[in-house]
Symmetry: C2
Subunit: 518 residues, 2 copies
């Protein structure tokens, strides 16, 4: 027995060594394809420059989706399709934007219509009205005075000279700190907020709603809103609802800080500011359904091919730029990862499925809808049969920065596996495995249902300072070497997940969220 | 004799001690007025936000000049006037700027007409034509193809993520290095340029002229030019001559790098880019004369009041913003310095004269014209009587940064004087006296004639990265504490110069520049 055991053990060791050797060979091939024969920037070009802004259900998103479907087919993926995830609402795009102040002198204004706000009533001209109101009683004094006016609601923001670089990469110290256990009760996202601050926030939000209703009732022609940012960079958002039955809103511009503050200073000093504007926006309501792009490399192992490994990023963006880092980067990387696997002729055992989500920006709608349809209900925790068949979901949505490691979302059992898988990429700067959570994007839709869902740790670059939701989130912001590195690592992770004997271990299932009695 | 000598010496020491004590008292008063009761930001607001862009001979410059004249009068200055310095040429301003590309999708373009370029022929629409030409022979292929076209001449520029802060202050090490003797034959501005590089530059310039002539002849509708910058910041210049008899040029836009590069990438990939634009610019030729704002605090000492101490900065700016750091900052500081002196009721012995120059941006014309009229001819070195009567000229034109010291322009004899005068401002960060030259602004007009002319060392802040000649050189860029510090130090320097027994020592007179035989 002893001898036999030894033989078996030796044979197992031999098999394991062969597997590791094969795996190393595949990893080297993936590295070569991903780093030396990359197509990731070409993909990024089509998703950004060629498709344009990709607001949910806009023509730009449709262009990108159609292009992605054709491209994935051309790689040899199967079952490539636009898969509906549910009802979203109206699409919207800018057909014309022009605004300038014309007195005390002429100055063209850097700004953008807020998403889903309507056109001005043709070209308009008029004095800018400074309306300082902080609470409901303040509004009374303006009753009857705002009809046809261009209204500026002041900000207390002041710009500061920046002595910190816009772009940054993680230092070794910062990465080490991410691995260290966080002190109890703090240090991670999602901590308790100060109740007083929450109350103030709620009150502010209430007043914003009251203000909007008041301005609508008074027949204001155009609202000017301060947009944070600096030096011509500004950040965009939505100004009205995309719902099918949403009441019409007012035209509203998000104005770059310098242009806004200049007008505000002049108005506060009692000077007359006159403005002209011409904004045309268009709504699209023929098809209110939201879609994800989905495609597969079918599994080759008869026992495992019904199991899947998923990877994805969101294809939708905000409207003032082309959403290069948020998140054409992630989509281009994921498309590149499946291209690498296909182009090497690898035959993964499990099915590899890519998904390019939509409506992430409005609340992870595309991935949540997909998860609800395929895997179960996040509230009741009633699961579907596919829930057992998915090994893991990998997401990339923190900009153009290269991968420095991975967040386990508290799934510590996955730690040793990923630590092993990162080893061949230490030379590319990816070494860190942290138990921590990270939030704000589509892996959470999977994690909410107990499916191993991961977001990689990425160098921040200019994500927070310049690109995330800004008017300057363009192709220029992408760093080719970083995207190539990310695609290479993800190709290897996805392939390793497909080949692994077991699926990726899971955390305990989250509890059903029972309705709370009120 | 010995006793007498001792008595005299003691008395002299006593007088000197009194003078120093008085001087210290004045310095404290200046500090209090400049740091605690400052008006510098109010002045800056009127020069920037209220006046607008201040291109030479534009209505914006005229507004600022008139306001400055009235303000200086209100401080109690005398002989305040607009003093003509010679013939400049036409003024110009933007009356409307609108441009967007409309295909493959709509995108409003951040750009500015180049200074002194004409209007488009009303609103125009058309395909953007990519015209790659590097030398005269390249142009032939485009003959007859460009009539009415919007032409984009490509750039090889690529944007990079910034890992360095936009703003910076001098470190103690950098300041120390400025004081250290520079190695022979290097380390200072104005070193010998590589002859091959110079030849390439000359050739390039020649080709630009040929290209412009060709495009004009072909009847191009609009030229799109790449403008360096990042994230919505771009830098402006002039695109045509301001001369009275200048031939008409073509409409030309300086386009922000992201918008330019996006169009270029689409065109290089063979895609159709369509554009619409509407540019109205206006020329002003009623008065071609250039003016400086000049005003005085007349001297109070019968023997010294004919002697002057000058201080100044240039009031003109580029056109895409309000020239806050270049150089409303310098003008506001100089106006504040004379306000401080007047408001304290000081009676300077020598006359203090402030000058706010114009047309600095086109070649220091305002200050050169002034120097030629008052002090002599920089070529022949034929001097005028006033040349002997000026003690020094102090200039501020390196942005919003606080003063860290002063450049001696090689006038080493002035070093110990300035070192002494800076002592009370060590606590404000101003300590450095360097023998080095600095160039590029109006103190050079004085220095060229052997008059002690100085520019202060200022923290760079965002001058090179964001503000100098950019579309984002606005009031927001000014740091109040820095401008207050500068005004305080300059008030003290100017007052000290007016009170000093001797005038500031001079360098040897430059040699006349004899005509070179060809």
């Amino acid at each position: 027995m002893k001898k036999n055991l030894l033989l078996t053990s030796t044979f197992a060791f031999f098999l394991s060594a062969v597997a590791i050797a094969q795996n190393n060979e595949v990893t080297q091939k993936i590295k070569d394809e991903g780093l030396n024969k990359s197509k990731v920037m070409e993909t990024a070009f089509y998703l950004t420059d060629v498709s344009g802004p990709r607001l949910s259900n806009s023509p730009g998103l449709e262009r990108a989706e159609k292009w992605a479907v054709e491209k994935l087919k051309s790689y040899g993926l199967q079952n490539v399709k636009l898969e509906p995830w549910g009802k979203f609402g109206k699409g919207w795009e800018v057909e014309k934007y022009y605004a300038a102040f014309t007195s005390p002198y002429y100055h063209n204004i850097i700004a953008s219509p807020k998403a889903w706000t309507p056109s001005t009533n043709g070209p308009i001209k008029g004095e800018v009205f400074l309306m300082k109101a902080d609470s409901l009683p303040d509004l009374a004094q303006f009753k009857g005075k705002l009809k046809g006016k261009i209204v500026l609601t002041p900000t207390t923001a002041v710009l500061a000279t920046s002595f910190k670089s816009d772009g940054e990469r993680y230092t070794e110290e910062e990465l080490a700190a991410m691995v260290a256990p966080t002190p109890a009760g703090g240090g991670q996202r999602g901590g308790q907020r100060d109740p007083a601050a929450l109350a103030r926030m709620t009150k502010l939000r209430e007043f914003r709603t009251q203000l909007t209703a008041f301005l609508k009732e008074e027949g204001v022609a155009l609202i000017l809103t301060y947009s944070r940012g600096n030096h011509g960079t500004f950040f965009t958002s939505n100004g009205a609802s995309y719902a099918e039955d949403a009441p019409s809103a007012l035209p509203e511009l998000e104005v770059s800080s310098e242009d806004f503050l200049r007008m505000q200073r002049l108005l506060v000093a009692g000077m007359k500011v006159e403005m002209e504007a011409d904004i045309k926006t268009k709504f699209f309501d023929k098809d209110l359904t939201g879609y994800n792009v989905v495609g597969e490399i079918p599994g080759s192992d008869p026992k495992l091919k019904d199991e899947v490994v998923m990877l994805g990023g969101h294809l939708d963006s905000w409207h003032a730029a082309t959403g290069a880092t948020d998140n054409a980067a992630g989509c281009a990387v994921m498309m590149e990862a499946v291209r690498i696997i296909k182009s090497l002729g690898l035959k993964p055992k499990r099915t590899i499925r890519i998904a390019l989500w939509s409506s992430e920006e409005q609340g992870l709608f595309g991935s949540r809808g997909y998860v609800a349809q395929h895997y179960g209900d996040r509230t009741t925790m009633v699961l579907k049969p596919e829930h057992e068949k998915i090994s893991a979901y990998y997401n990339l949505d923190n900009g153009s920065g290269k991968i420095r490691g991975i967040y386990l979302q508290g799934n510590e059992a996955a730690g040793p596996i990923f630590t092993e898988w990162l080893k061949p990429f230490a030379d590319l700067g990816a070494t860190t495995v942290t138990a921590r959570n990270t939030g704000g994007t589509d892996h959470q839709s999977f994690d909410a249902l107990g499916i191993p869902g991961f977001q990689f740790i990425q160098d921040g670059l200019e994500y927070n300072t310049r690109t995330h939701h800004s008017n300057e989130d363009t192709y220029d912001r992408l760093i080719p070497a970083d995207l190539m590195q990310a695609a290479t690592i993800i190709a290897a992770f996805v392939y390793n997940t497909s080949e692994r004997v077991e699926k990726i271990p899971r955390k305990e299932l989250p509890k059903a969220q029972l309705p709370v009695a009120r």
